[in-house]
C-alpha cells in the first residue's frame, strides 16, 4: 500500500483544528456546491442521482473532500470520527443534497477491512472517481427485517459462482454499475451462517433490473433478478459462508448516519415557513405543537451528539445503543412531516407541487419520503427488540 497511486493528493485535513476544518469545508461548499441542487422547501430531503451525483462526487474528489472515513493511503480523507461528524454537519448546514454513495459509505470500508489487496486496488480508485457506482443487494421479498432468511444462491462451478435469485429494495440499482450482495452459499443450522459477500458487475448477462415506484413518486428502489449469472470467484469478499459478519460490521455506522438530525431539521424548517405563511404564529395551539417538535429536535441533537462523541472517544464500533438514534430520529421525522401536512390545512391534501404564498413546496413528497425511514435499515420494531435485549438485557 505504498504505491504512489495511493499516496494522498491533498493536505491531511485531519491535522486541522476542528474549527479550521469546519471553516475550510464551509468555504469550499459555498464556492462549489451548485445552488440549484440545494435542499429547499420543495425538496427538503433532496437527493442527487445519476449524472448529477457523479458530477458532485467528482468535484469533491478533485478537491480532496471525498471519502471522509477512508484512510489517506487509500485515497480517502482519513478523518477522525469527530471530524466526520463535522463533515456531515457542514454538508447539512449548507443544504447540500444527499447522495446515496454506497461505494464510499459501505463497500469501501468493507474492502479496506476485509478485502484482499487485489480487490482494494481494483475497486477503491474507481469508487473515488465514480467510474463504478455501487448499489447494495441485501433484502429479498421474504427476507426483510429477517434478513438472515435470504435465499438468493451462489453455487461455485469452476472459477465462477453462478448466482440465481432475486433482490429487492435495491436503492438506485438503475443508476449503478455494480452491486455488492449477500448470497447463500451454504446451509447450516444457524441461518446467519452460509451467507457470503459477493461483488457483481451489473453488466453481466442474466441480470434484470426493474425499478419500483414509491409512494413519493420516485423510482429509487429496484428489484434485481439473477438468472444463472456467472460471477468470478475472485469477487468473494472475506471467507466463504462468513458474509453475515462482513455486512453486520457496518450496520452500527449505518444507524448512526440514519439517525442524523439533519432531515428533521430540514422538515422543521418547513414547519416554520408554513407557520409564517399561514400566519399561525398567533395560534397558540399550533405553536404548542410546534414547540414540542422543536424541543424534541433540540433534545435529540444533544443525545445524538453525546452518543457520537462516546463512539468517537472510545474508538470502538457503535454498540446496540445506536438503535435509539435510528428509532427516535425516524419517528420524529414522521411527526414533523405530519405537522406540516396539518398546518397546511387544505393544501395538505395536494399530491404534488403547490405554491403557498410565494413558496414552492410539495407536502405530499415530504410526508411520503418520511414513511420508509421507520422501515429500512431494520424496522423500528426490530430496533426496539434490540434495545430491550442488548441494552436493557431483558430476557425473552
Amino acid at each position: 500500500m505504498t504505491d504512489s497511486n495511493w499516496s494522498s493528493r491533498h493536505d491531511d485535513r485531519n491535522q486541522l483544528s476542528d474549527e479550521e476544518f469546519r471553516q475550510q469545508l464551509r468555504l469550499f461548499l459555498q464556492a462549489n456546491f451548485p445552488r440549484e441542487w440545494r435542499q429547499d422547501f420543495h425538496r427538503p430531503f433532496r437527493r442527487l442521482r445519476g449524472p448529477e451525483q457523479k458530477q458532485w462526487l467528482r468535484i469533491l474528489n478533485d478537491n480532496g473532500w471525498r471519502a471522509p472515513a477512508w484512510p489517506r493511503h487509500f485515497g480517502g480523507m482519513g478523518l477522525s470520527f469527530r471530524k466526520q461528524l463535522i463533515y456531515h454537519e457542514e454538508l447539512e448546514h449548507a443544504g447540500v443534497a444527499r447522495v446515496i454513495d454506497l461505494g464510499d459509505s459501505q463497500l469501501g470500508p468493507t474492502l479496506i477491512l476485509l478485502g484482499n489487496e487485489q480487490q482494494q486496488q481494483l475497486y477503491l480508485p474507481k469508487i473515488l472517481n465514480c467510474e463504478h457506482i455501487w448499489c447494495q443487494g441485501y433484502s429479498e421479498p421474504n427476507a426483510g427485517s429477517d434478513l438472515a432468511s435470504l435465499r438468493c444462491s451462489a453455487v461455485l462451478q469452476g472459477d465462477d459462482f453462478v448466482v440465481n435469485g432475486q433482490k429487492i429494495w435495491t436503492t438506485h440499482a438503475n443508476d449503478a454499475t455494480h452491486i455488492f450482495t449477500l448470497v447463500r452459499t451454504g446451509k447450516f443450522e444457524k441461518k446467519q451462517q452460509g451467507i457470503s459477500f459477493l461483488l457483481i458487475d451489473l453488466n453481466t448477462p442474466g441480470i434484470t433490473i426493474r425499478p419500483i415506484n414509491n409512494l413519493a413518486g420516485e423510482d429509487e428502489f429496484c428489484e434485481v433478478f439473477f438468472d444463472d449469472v456467472p460471477v468470478p470467484k475472485t469477487n468473494l469478499v472475506g471467507e466463504i459462508d462468513q458474509g453475515w459478519r462482513v455486512a453486520k460490521s457496518l450496520l452500527g455506522y449505518e444507524r448512526v448516519w440514519i439517525g442524523s438530525p439533519a432531515l428533521v431539521s430540514k422538515a422543521l424548517e418547513l414547519s416554520r415557513q408554513l407557520i409564517e405563511l399561514r400566519e399561525l404564529d398567533v395560534d397558540c395551539g399550533a405553536r404548542d405543537r410546534y414547540a414540542e417538535l422543536c424541543a424534541d429536535l433540540h433534545d435529540y441533537k444533544l443525545l445524538y451528539t453525546r452518543i457520537c462523541n462516546q463512539i468517537s472517544d472510545s474508538g470502538r464500533e457503535p454498540g446496540p445503543e445506536v438503535s435509539m438514534l435510528k428509532l427516535y430520529a425516524s419517528e420524529l421525522l414522521q411527526r414533523v412531516t405530519e405537522f406540516n401536512v396539518q398546518a397546511a390545512a387544505e393544501w395538505g391534501g395536494v399530491v404534488g407541487d403547490t405554491v403557498i404564498g410565494d413558496t414552492l413546496t410539495d407536502l405530499h413528497w415530504q410526508y411520503m419520503m418520511a414513511r420508509p425511514v421507520t422501515i429500512f435499515a431494520g424496522a423500528n420494531e426490530v430496533q426496539r427488540d434490540i434495545l430491550a435485549k442488548a441494552v436493557l438485557r431483558l430476557p425473552t
Binding site: L215, G348, V351, I375
Partner: protein
Amino acid sequence: MSDEIFSMLRDSAEDFLSAQVHNDSQTGRIGTPVLRDRKLWAAIAELGWLGVALPESHSGMGMSVDAAAVLCEVFGRKLFAEPYIAGALMPSAVLAESTEPVAFELAEGLVCGNRYLTLAWQEQAGEADSATYATRWDGATITGRKRFVSALEDDGIVLVAAESNEGTVIVALAVEAAGVRYQRLATAQGHYADIQLDGAVPMAPPLLVGAVADAAIMRAVAWARVAASAQLSGIARGCLLATTDYVSQRTQFNRTLSAFQSVSHRCADMLVGVELSDAVWRFAAAEVSVAKQPESLACVYAAKARSGDVALTTGRTAVQLHGAMGFTEECAIGLYLRAAMQYSSWLGAPAAMRRLFLARSGQRDLLMEACND
C-alpha cells in the same frame, strides 16, 4: 330513513364497486389532477345515486344526507375515486333550495349525469366556514377568486357564492364562460381548482339570494362533512382489512407477523379507531338529516375530526405494517393513506374541527349537570 333501505343501498354499492373499481387506475398519478371518469359517472347516475339527496321536485330520490353517507362509506372502503360529495351532494344542497327554472334544469342534468356541477364557496385555506366573500356579484357579472374547488370539469357548471348588495348570492356559471380561468392541483383522487373570475356572466339570475343562500351553503358544507366522515371511515376500515389480511399471511422470523404484539396490538388500536369513527359519523348523519341548521350540531365537527384523524393514523400504521412493500406505489395500501390526506384536509383538518366542536357543544352538554340541582 329505514335501516332496510340503507342495507339495500350499501349492498348495491358494494356489488357495483367490487366489479368496477380497479386500484391500478389510481397509481402513478402523482401530481396529475384527475377529472371525472365519465363512464363511471354515467353508471352511478344510472344507479340513481347522484340524485339521492335531491327532493323529488328536483328529479331526485327524496332521501337525505344519511343515505348519501351510506354510499360514501362504501366509496371509502372500495377506494372509489369519483367526486360524489363535491360533484353531486353539495350542489344538491343548493339546488334543492332554489325554485328558479335553471335550478330544476340543472338538477335534472345532475341526476342524469350529463351536467357536471360543483360548488365554489371557499376563498382561503382553513376557512371553509367563512360566510363572507371577497368575490362580488354586481347584478350582472361576477368577479373574484375561489379556491379548493373539487370536481371542476372544463365543460362543467360551477355554483359560485358571492357578496352582493342583497347579501350572499349563489349563481350558476358555465366553466367555459368568458372571464373564467382556473388551475388545478392534484389530490389523491381528484383535484383542487383555483378559479379566477373576472366579470364572468352566469347562465341565469342568481339561484339563491340572502339568508337562504347562506343557509344553503352552510347546509352543503355540513352535509359534505358528514359524507366525508363516512368516506374517511370507510377508507380506514378498508385499510384495516387490507392490513389484517397482510399480517395474517406474511411471515418473518418464522412467525406470522400477527403473532407479534408489536403488530397485533396496533391492529387492535386501529380497530378501536375505526369503530369510534363509524359510531360518530352514523350518529351525525342521522342527526344532520333531520336538522334545520345542521351546521349548529357539534357532532358534525366531531365526526369530521375523528374520521380524519383515524383515517390518517390507520393509513400510516398500515403502511408501516406492510413494511417496505407498503412504501411502493404498486401496493394499494398507500392509496388509502393518500385518500385520507385528501378527505381529512378538505372541509377542515381535525384540530380545526375540534375547536368548532368545542364551540358548538357549549361544553355543558359534555358534563353532567348533577351539581347544579
